[in-house]
Symmetry: C2
Subunit: 432 residues, 2 copies
């Protein structure tokens, strides 16, 4: 039986998932490929912490050099997470001529230029299916299945935690805080949830997808990001009244040579297929010039789905190990020229949902709409609802036609200085 030896770096949730998957399904892979994937070494930080009865203790090592220097280990899976030492181990493994699989979105979003360049120079396979979308084959789809397409846009619900929170708020009348607390209790959100709820996790992921879709590394630092901390149950309900659902969406769009890469809460029509993506599910809605619109949906995180993605990359790496040749499809190039085509958010035109808090007295609407008019923002519909009347203040909700972000910002600044306006105005972009 021909075997391919594999090293795991890290033995947390994902590492254990990969181990369990191969324990169970490696024979299936052998049957389909004629090669048996065999885990031979597992790098851990503390041998005392390892309490896995079913894993032979001789697999564990504390010493990365034992793996890097061992030529009988052609495939390395980096499942440590974080920047250090993950990035160093990935680069050093590549330099040793190993094929590398990583589930690490942060190192690719922040140092993709360096890592892809190294893989390319070493003619090594670098698999990163698990870095975005858990078990959903979004990387393979963009890289291989849609290779004949110019990608026009990717619109994704790429973070399960925030989608869970928004779903529970709307469907169960929870406040943001209550829903977050529940997500934490269920293990969907971290004790410090900032990376998720501020949108940074989504930004990591969309920068990787944008790099793949447009063929050029696009740094995560170039992504415009807003999180969901400011979304109120009231907004979810008003949006529903208008026939919309609010989701945290990540966008990567290319129009001629203008690129837009951004993450922000967004109103989408409730009959759009993305609106049916509930709880901690993720989805990617991709438009290509030939394929039209396709959607991939599934669990974007978790032990088993992520292990499924890592193992699909292991099988690809096994193929290349057997071949001793470079991967056929190239990595995103290091040509940074695309970044100069990034369209600043201020220049983008959106339709907006706007919620003003204003005193309940005559002339208020006229003042507000006067200022909007001055900045050429035209109103599509208005509701004023007594739903949350307090201290003489009422919410006034408007949907606008397309307006430039720059103009809207100026208008809202002016409006918020009106004496009749009692709180900072909220705006949420609309995509339909």
């Amino acid at each position: 039986m021909k075997e391919v030896n594999i090293a795991l770096l890290g033995f947390g949730t994902v590492g254990k998932g990969v181990y369990e998957l191969l324990e169970k399904n490696a024979p299936l892979i052998y049957q389909k490929t004629g090669l048996y994937p065999r885990i031979k070494k597992i790098l851990v930080r503390d041998l005392n912490k390892i309490r896995e009865k079913n894993v032979p203790s001789n697999l564990f090592t504390l010493n990365i050099e034992e793996i890097l220097e061992d030529d009988s280990l052609p495939v390395v899976c980096e499942l440590i997470g974080g920047i250090n030492p993950a990035k160093e181990y990935v680069l050093r493994s590549l330099q040793k001529g190993k094929h590398v699989i990583t589930a690490n979105k942060a190192i690719l979003a922040e140092f993709g230029d360096e890592i892809w360049k190294e893989a390319s120079q070493q003619k090594s396979y670098l698999g990163f299916e698990a870095s975005v979308g858990g078990g959903i084959p979004i990387i393979k789809t963009l890289k291989e299945a849609l290779i004949g397409n110019k990608i026009k846009s990717i619109v994704g619900i790429v973070n399960g935690t925030t989608n869970y929170i928004l779903t529970r708020m709307l469907e169960n009348n929870l406040s943001f805080k209550e829903a977050l607390k529940e997500a934490q209790a269920k293990g969907y959100a971290e004790a410090d949830p900032s990376l998720d709820i501020k949108g940074w996790d989504s930004a990591h992921k969309i920068s990787i997808l944008a790099s793949l879709a447009f063929g050029t590394y696009i740094s995560f630092s170039k992504v415009y990001v807003e999180g969901i901390e400011e979304i109120d149950l009231l907004d979810l309900k008003f949006a529903k009244d208008f026939g919309y659902v609010i989701k945290l969406l990540a966008f990567a769009q290319k129009d001629k040579n203008r690129l837009e890469i951004r993450v922000h809460p967004t109103l989408i029509p409730e009959n759009h297929v993305l609106a049916s993506v509930r709880l901690n599910y993720n989805a990617f809605y991709i438009t290509g010039d030939f394929v039209g619109d396709i959607l991939l949906y599934g669990l974007g995180a978790g032990k088993e789905p992520t292990a499924s993605a890592v193992v699909s990359d292991i099988v690809s790496a096994m193929e290349y190990t057997n071949l001793k040749r470079e991967p056929f499809i190239k990595y995103p190039s290091m040509d940074k020229s695309l970044e100069k085509f990034l369209k600043p958010i201020e220049e983008v035109e959106f339709k907006y949902y706007i919620r003003f808090s204003a005193m309940d007295k005559p002339g208020v609407l006229s003042k507000i709409s006067g200022i909007l008019g001055k900045y050429e923002i035209s109103i599509a519909s208005v509701v004023q609802i007594g739903r949350q009347k307090k201290k003489g203040s009422v919410p006034i909700v408007m949907l606008t036609h397309e307006s430039k972000e720059k103009n809207l910002r100026k208008a809202l600044k002016e409006i918020d200085q009106l004496e009749v306006v009692t709180a900072i105005t909220k705006k949420i972009r609309i995509w339909d």
Copy 2:
């Protein structure tokens, strides 16, 4: 510039789509792979019918031997459709050592054993992404992305025509006939729509997917099939009252060693993600032991989406052309042993939607439910609605708990012989 020469067999809708895609996006493929796909020959039946201004006339040939005997054409795309001569050309191309791409579901569903065996013996790449789901990468996903998973089930809306008809009926109050006529006018349905509406097209597709998912060729002749001809607008509306949508679903499920491969109209809960698949879109809902549930959604037919799938296979074939080696992942085996584990539909347990037409007089319900009880079919809910009262006859609609198909058939046969029952009873299976 390294080129790979390609021959197209057939120049209908899909052939033209592939030609146009490569005219437009071949440079993109070259940029990503270092190989330029170049169409060098196109087999047609009648040179006089070719009126494509932009295609050089020297590409066309009437003679298949010109392609088969030409060793400078390593990649052949069969885009003729139908069984003859498509099957012969595919087999002969494989025998000549060529890599073959086919968009032909019929030849794979009916002769997959023969064709996969030939590809396997010749160590040739046989691409068939376009045979199922148009531009949706369902084949690549099952074969490669989910290779670490035992597939538990695939549930799909795999035929755009029937999904279009059912969507339009429900949303626009159309009868089956009206919706079919509209689908024909829009080019979504053929003049003879039997293949689609009777479910045979779906059966072709699910037999290919089942073969891939379970690793063994499963002939289309083993698929249990019901179409949508009997679905009434009334049923769509009753289903909606109960919170369900009716879709034509294709199932491939494996439970221990029992296989179920079937196509039939099905009630699914309206909040299920498959329920949001409207009009001529397709979707595949796959459950694997590690990945959990994933869904792929998109246009399952049409010139451009299908061309996108063919070209992704062309790129895979190009990789193998360059390598001169056999594909890494094996084709479904010829071991037919799985077919003996097929569970007859009579043995499967379903929940059912049942619509009786009965006289509007006392005691009817008691007679019907008495017979159901005799066959151990228990009722989950009942409505009797005067909605379509005619000639003293009313519809009585029930949802049942899980019951064996065999028992339900016996019960309905007996019920339909009651004097108070005025028309054949309709049953539609429920999946939730």
